[in-house]
């Protein structure tokens, strides 16, 4: 890896310089965050971001057929040798449109549903062209800005996968932006299997099975058995019991109950094996109780990524060190894994600190944003300068 000392100059004064963009960044944050954007309904948010791209003079901005917002800041390098660096932020949130999306700004925080995940990532994405131009930063390579849709939950990364399948751009590296947490450095993805188990009992009440004819009890049986599964310590593996739904009221037997879970492991084989075991559990409980149990796999990810000592990771760590950001290494199962599947060296970076994540009073701190932003620009400069190859 070459020396990145010439970027140090930018980094040493960057936080002070970037404070100048506070109002513009926060205005974008508020305006983007107040547009509800549940998965599959991200159009209005994407349109807003596209307007920002157009205002910043990104003539090549468009909404692709997958619904993603794409803007290209053309590099100054030779057209033949120029590469593309992708910066992405997912445009969807876990909050439904019915929730009040009003943002509140105090002197040091911003509060509102989805402000951290991922209105801030989108605000940085849509303000970047303005900031780069104002700072007089010209990149040799093309910067491709992507507000990708259909990322979370049942969206299952459909948006970014569509973009990577269909775009003709030659993407060499990528950075995924997440509002929190500053210091986050993801460079690999873990194996993952996300599934739903739904138990159904017949609507007619069976007095002969007094007490146990309930979908909740059947699901409970499934959960107990999943809980008893032996998982290896190495490769690291875990099962997240994420959500549970079922029944309607106190005195009516639940006819339906659903468990949402996720198996995560560093090993694809372990994930597969766990999936098969859960399938066996489902069949066993179903035949024992006579209830109908359905097992649906919502999504899968393969483990992979670059190494801790890969040039791109090293570069990012160096930039973070310069800015006194303590890297927190964590594997990812979000956009990063779609990039990894396409063999594109990529990182996920967080922008600031925050709390009450996924609550309607999700809150982020304003002050760390400047360092988060400096880290993103510093890493872009390092990649553009060819220091991460």
């Amino acid at each position: 890896m070459k020396n990145i000392d010439n970027i140090d100059k930018f980094l040493s004064t960057s936080v002070k310089k970037l404070k100048k963009y506070r109002e513009i960044l926060l205005a974008n944050l508020v305006m983007v965050g107040e547009i509800p954007s549940p998965t599959f309904k991200e159009e209005r948010r994407v349109e807003f971001i596209l307007n920002r791209f157009a205002e910043a003079g990104l003539t090549d901005s468009m909404i692709d057929d997958g619904g993603n917002g794409v803007g290209i800041l053309a590099g100054t390098g030779d057209k033949e040798t120029r590469k593309a660096l992708l910066i992405s932020a997912h445009a969807d949130t876990v909050f439904s449109s019915n929730i009040d999306h009003t943002m509140e700004i105090s002197s040091d925080t911003v509060t509102g549903p989805g402000v951290a995940d991922n209105a801030l990532g989108l605000a940085v994405l849509s303000t970047l062209p303005y900031i780069l131009e104002d700072l007089g930063i010209e990149l040799k390579n093309d910067l491709v800005l992507l507000a990708n849709v259909k990322s979370l939950g049942k969206g299952n990364l459909e948006g970014i996968q569509f973009f990577l399948e269909n775009s003709r751009l030659d993407i060499k590296n990528a950075i995924c932006l997440e509002g929190i947490r500053l210091g986050r450095l993801s460079y690999s993805s873990i194996g993952m299997l996300r599934g739903e188990i739904t138990c159904r009992v017949p609507e007619s009440y069976d007095w002969s099975r007094f007490g146990d004819a309930s979908a909740i009890l059947t699901l409970n049986e499934v959960i107990n058995k999943i809980n008893e599964m032996k998982l290896p310590g190495r490769p690291r593996t875990s099962i997240v019991m994420g959500s549970i739904e079922g029944g309607t009221t106190f005195n009516t037997i639940a006819h339906e109950a659903t468990l949402g879970f996720e198996v995560r492991s560093e090993s694809e084989e372990v994930v597969e094996k766990a999936g098969e075991t859960i399938q066996d559990i489902v069949m066993e409980v179903s035949s024992k109780t006579g209830d109908q149990i359905e097992f649906n796999i919502i999504s899968r990810r393969s483990p992979g990524g670059i190494r801790y000592d890969a040039p791109l990771t090293k570069c990012a760590r160096k930039v973070m060190k310069q800015l006194d950001i303590e890297p927190r290494l964590s594997p990812s199962i979000s956009e990063l894994s779609a990039l990894i599947e396409k063999q594109i060296p990529a990182l996920t970076l967080g922008i600031t600190t925050g709390e009450q994540i996924f609550e309607s009073n999700e809150t982020i701190q304003i002050e760390p944003i400047y360092r988060g932003l400096a880290q993103v620009i510093g890493t872009i400069l390092a990649i553009d300068g060819g220091y991460c190859e």
Partner: protein, 323 residues
Amino acid sequence: MSNLQSWIDNNTYHHSEFWDLKKLVDIKEKKNLKISLCLPTLNEEKTIGKEVIIFKSEMMERYPLLDEIAVIDSGSTDKTLEVAKNYGADTYLASDILPHLEQKRGKGENLWKAIYQLKGDIIVYVDADISNIHPRFVYGLLAPLIYRDEIKYVKGFYDRPLALSGGVRTTGGGRVTEILVRPLFSLFFPDLTAMIQPLSGEYAVRREILEEIAFPIGYGVETSHLIDVYSKFGLEAFAQTDLDKRVHENKPTQDLGKMSFGILQTFIKRAKALGILDKADHTTLLRQFQAKRDQYEQKLIEIIEDERPPMIEIEEYRKKFNR
């Protein structure tokens, strides 16, 4: 009446007509206009930060329509001033402006003192309690003044015609407008019923008008502005812009009672001064609003409050009951 409809057609805008902010800034600069934004406040720490940030970013830095953003405060006990100052607004305590005058406390006081304190040829006033704040609240009000020299006073109103289908819908103001102000205007100032939301707290006004009119300190300020500007300059001085949706906290009915009482005092004072109180005797048309898509029209409803005399005056009655 067709005159009133033609005023509505010619002077009622939707903010989306002014999407070309660059053009607006060019004309503003060509006309050498200075524009000030005044945000009157009293304990608005929850919403003021966002308003200042959005207006500063969008209306000063990106599109320099505003030359200053000022918060004029009635003595907040929360962090309103600290937050506003932190994000770059000029902050003033109303009591520090023209301090030798007797102290009065109310929103109208802040609006009035802004005329003295701020530099603009146009002052745009926006309430500080709007939670869905957007740059349209400023450019939607300013654009008619920037484009048309004959317009002096632009009032905001809130409707959502672009989101609706073709059917006819009733439209208009809040409860106090529909229950008190519109009936009063129907009786005494029928032309002013053309204002869809006479009580909205968002308006932009040229200095030459502001310096010529009195300011009630409390609830009557919006009503008095309309009456005074209308009396001095006529309906042609006004325009109104649909600013879409405005989200703010709903007031309880008792508060609306206080507001109505203040408005009524202001109104009667003016009606007396203009010698028009008798006018009510022969007016029976109530003027409300309806809209078809983005076309607004007045709905005239004849309400004749006919009366019967006391029964004792009827001969048949007296005979029947031996009275």
